[in-house]
């Protein structure tokens, strides 16, 4: 029954998205070639990040440091480009940095039994500190040139950014993994009922470790997609982005308690959160209001999943029981 409901939930999200797009098209220059191009360009890294953190949330964990991990990824790429390394080196190296940093989070979570919320919150602070102390010039690198930006600024038919294509590929692969691999099933199992997962022969620790690595890998891609659109890298611009990513996943119907949700939800949630923020920019809403509004939207989304949907689900359940008997 809930499967049907989830579809409705996603239809609802889709309808909201459509409404905003129509509204923006009618009242602003959103639907022009450049408006669409910049939307596709900017939404891509957010979607990939929402998928990344969404997969961690499936297991009932969370990663608060996804924003700051991105900063290190971008710095690694920038520094290697500046040093003259070819793309075949700096892209894998940057993604590896993301994978390892997230791996550290996973390791702390499973090894020391620290709740991932605490572990990654602490790592988030460590990262911010490291920007200022370990990285030269706080990691600021400028004038990277077209060797760095050609991909991020590249587009097909003068319209579709390469970034957008990467995002679509990532989303399709993620959906495939969730549907067709044991790893995907195990994520739901660990988040839904840890004890039963163990009884089903799934090792929760191994699963959590793996999902953090996957998340780091995807955050590497996400960070590169964003960084490569600019001529410079500045790790501190990624500070605070985690709220954006996590809210995208949660708004997309991924239960913060773990065990349920879908990749398509994360994709749509990211699009919604992003569209709302550009709508606010179009209408000249101040930054602070934007933050507040974003917060209210998250609350609303969580409120709906925790209360109303729960009630409706239970009612549907009771009806289907009666039908069965």
């Amino acid at each position: 029954m809930k499967r049907n409901w989830t579809v409705t939930q996603e239809l609802l999200l889709g309808a909201i998205l459509l409404a905003i797009i129509v509204f923006l098209s009618l009242t602003t220059n959103f639907s022009t070639r450049s408006g669409i191009y910049s939307f596709m360009l900017d939404v891509s890294p957010t979607v990939v990040a929402a998928i990344a953190v969404g997969m961690v949330i499936f297991t009932g964990n969370i990663d608060i440091s996804v924003g700051t991990i991105s900063g290190f990824v971008a710095y690694t790429a920038g520094a290697l480009v500046k040093a003259g390394a070819p793309m075949i080196i700096w892209v894998p190296a940057a993604i590896t940095v993301g994978t390892l940093l997230a791996g550290i989070n996973g390791f702390i979570t499973i090894k020391f039994r620290v709740p991932s919320l605490v572990a990654t919150l602490a790592m988030n602070m460590v990262h911010i500190g490291a920007y200022a102390t370990v990285l030269p010039q706080s990691g600021w690198i400028e004038n990277l040139g077209p060797r760095f930006t050609w991909f991020g600024r590249g587009r097909i038919f003068n319209l579709i950014p390469y970034n957008f294509v990467v995002m679509i590929v990532v989303a399709i692969v993620a959906m495939f993994v969730m549907k067709y691999t044991r790893f995907g099933r195990a994520l739901y199992a660990v988040g839904g009922n840890r004890q039963s997962a163990i009884y089903s022969g799934i090792n929760p620790d191994v699963t959590v470790m793996k999902v953090f690595f996957v998340e780091g890998f995807l955050m590497g891609i996400s960070a590169l997609l964003r960084a490569m659109t600019l001529n410079e890298v500045m790790p501190s611009v990624f500070v605070g982005r985690e709220l954006f990513f996590i809210s995208a996943a949660v708004v997309g119907g991924i239960s913060i308690f773990g065990g349920s949700g879908r990749i398509i939800g994360a994709v749509m949630g990211a699009a919604l959160v992003y569209l709302l923020s550009i709508a606010m920019i179009y209408y000249g809403v101040q930054d602070y209001y934007q933050f507040a509004l974003q917060g209210i939207i998250i609350l609303g989304a969580v409120f709906i999943t925790v209360t109303d949907f729960g009630k409706i689900r239970r009612r549907l359940g009771r009806e289907s029981e009666q039908r069965a008997s």
Partner: protein, 509 residues
């Protein structure tokens, strides 16, 4: 005789030999041996705590046995976890659901053992989940069970009976030859029980073997071929169901002789102090009414799941019953929440000290004065430490809690002393009526008799006590009157003179 022994030898699919299991403070299984034959339903009976569930958990690999051996189809059988047991053809269907609530029926059935196929048109190491094959197999299983179910329904939307069917179906996807059903009817209505029995018979006719754990004797006679009785962790007897009757099983289950360990004094029972009228709560509690008198110790006996704790919690307002009316000292009182019930002088002491009773990492002071903070705070809500100390000392002395130091952390106390702190906390409110839910579970013998002495003293002071206990000798030794509960109803009332273990058990079963 000889022929039967030979048949038995040939047919035994699972043999358990001399299994021991020890947990801290309790010898759960002692030298248990039994066998399960092909195509039989073998019931395992016993009182609460007789070791039934422990035995099943050993077979399914939740715990390793301390000693003893098992044989499966003639081969030595060792098992490391329930998944391992599954893959060896033994499936356990737990009392509490082990399904994933947010996943669909189909996803649940194959969790951890999904059917995989090569991603390429030929065999290759690159495997993906084969949804089509899983759906086909699942449909096949449900067809064999004679059940129709929406494979795409999310499990949390299903009722208890349907969930149980999904668990059984899941077991069949492993093609399990042996199924262990642990109290499968505990949460089912009688119609659903019939469906379940039909399923069990069907599986038996396919040659599968089942261990059927239950303390409902009627069911044993309906469904089982043989029955084994456990008592206090020992295997008492195994018999063909057709060769035994109810009384025989009850006598095997009771067995113990009652020693006169209890400090019970016969007191003069006063007037009615509490009248409970028509407590209803769904299927859990069905129109329960009773009276309690001053200085009376009223026992509530029954098996696990009979609704005893639910009754206590409903009376106190800890749960939300459909209907509950109390008359306290002649005044009508509608139960709303626990705080108000407590103000009227009814205190509940939970069996689960850790979850409901105590804040373990905090001190004696904090715990004992928890419910009476108003008494020890001044006008602006600041706690007066000397008052706090005084209350703690009063009750620590009264109940001889050791150590009685108010700054001692409760977590470091023994189980018996923790239980006393739990009682002290409720006594601090100075209630008229105390509801004690399994007050001596998990405490050692010494502490147990001390708690019994305390209960008797409270009755002597004129307090009325409702004692919920699964420990029959305790009920018999302590109570003036006993109510026996079964499936949410009071099925009998026994005065002290009428009390006997057999009587209570045969009502409760």
């Amino acid at each position: 005789m000889v022929r039967e022994a030979v048949t038995m030898e040939r047919n035994a699919v699972l043999t358990i030999e001399a299994v021991d299991k020890h947990f801290p403070g309790v010898q759960a299984l002692i030298d248990v041996s039994m066998d399960l034959r092909q195509g039989e339903v073998h019931a395992v009976c016993g009182e609460n705590g007789a070791g039934k569930s422990t035995l099943m958990k050993i077979i399914s690999g939740v715990y390793p046995p301390d000693r003893g051996s098992m044989t499966l189809n003639g081969e030595p059988y060792t098992v490391v976890n329930p998944h391992d047991a599954h893959s060896k053809g033994i499936a356990i269907i737990y009392q509490e659901s082990s399904l994933f609530p947010d996943l669909t029926v189909l996803e649940n059935m194959f969790m951890g053992h999904e059917i995989m196929r090569s991603i390429l048109p030929f065999e290759s190491p690159f495997k993906i989940i084969d949804h089509h094959a899983m759906r086909e197999k699942a449909e096949n299983v449900f067809q064999r069970l004679g059940m129709r179910i929406d494979l795409d329904a999310v499990v949390s939307t299903l009722g208890v009976a349907a969930k149980q069917m999904v668990e059984i179906a899941k077991a069949l996807t492993f093609d399990s030859q042996i199924l262990i059903l642990d109290e499968p009817t505990a949460a089912l209505t009688s119609n659903e029980v019939e469906t379940l029995f039909a399923t069990i018979r069907r599986l038996r006719s396919e040659g599968r073997s089942m261990l059927y754990i239950s303390h409902r004797l009627d069911e044993v006679f309906q469904i089982a071929d043989r029955v084994t009785v456990l008592r206090d962790g020992r295997c008492i007897n195994t018999a063909q169901v057709k060769d035994v009757n109810r009384d025989k099983l009850v006598s095997w289950m009771v067995g113990r002789t009652l020693s006169n360990l209890y400090p019970k004094e016969i007191l003069e029972i006063g007037d009615v102090i509490l009248e409970v009228r028509g407590v209803c709560q769904g299927d859990l509690l069905k129109n329960i009414s009773f009276k309690l008198r001053r200085s009376e110790i009223l026992g509530i006996a029954g098996l696990a799941g009979a609704g005893r704790t639910e009754l206590a919690q409903a009376i106190c307002g800890l749960t939300d019953p459909d209907q509950a009316e109390l008359i306290i000292n002649g005044h009508k009182f509608r139960v709303t929440d626990y705080r108000r019930t407590l103000e009227r002088g009814i205190a509940y002491i939970s069996e689960d000290r850790q979850a409901y009773g105590l804040v373990l990492p905090m001190t004696l002071n904090v715990n004992i004065t928890h419910k009476v903070l108003k008494k020890i705070t001044n006008a602006i809500g600041i706690i007066d430490p000397s008052q706090e100390q005084k209350i703690t000392q009063t009750f620590a002395d009264k109940l001889s809690i050791k150590p009685s130091d108010g700054d001692f952390i409760v977590n470091n106390l023994s189980g018996g002393n923790q239980q006393k702190v739990s009682v002290a906390k409720s006594l601090a409110v100075e209630p008229q009526i105390l509801i004690l839910d399994e007050p001596t579970r998990g405490v050692d013998v010494g502490a147990k008799s001390e708690i019994h002495r305390i209960i008797c003293n409270l009755a002597k002071e004129g307090k009325s006590i409702i004692l919920i206990s699964s420990d029959l000798p305790e009920i018999l030794g302590m109570c003036d009157r006993v109510l026996v509960m079964k499936s949410g109803e009071i099925v009998g009332e026994l005065s002290r003179e009428e009390l006997s273990q057999e009587r209570v058990l045969s009502m409760a079963l």
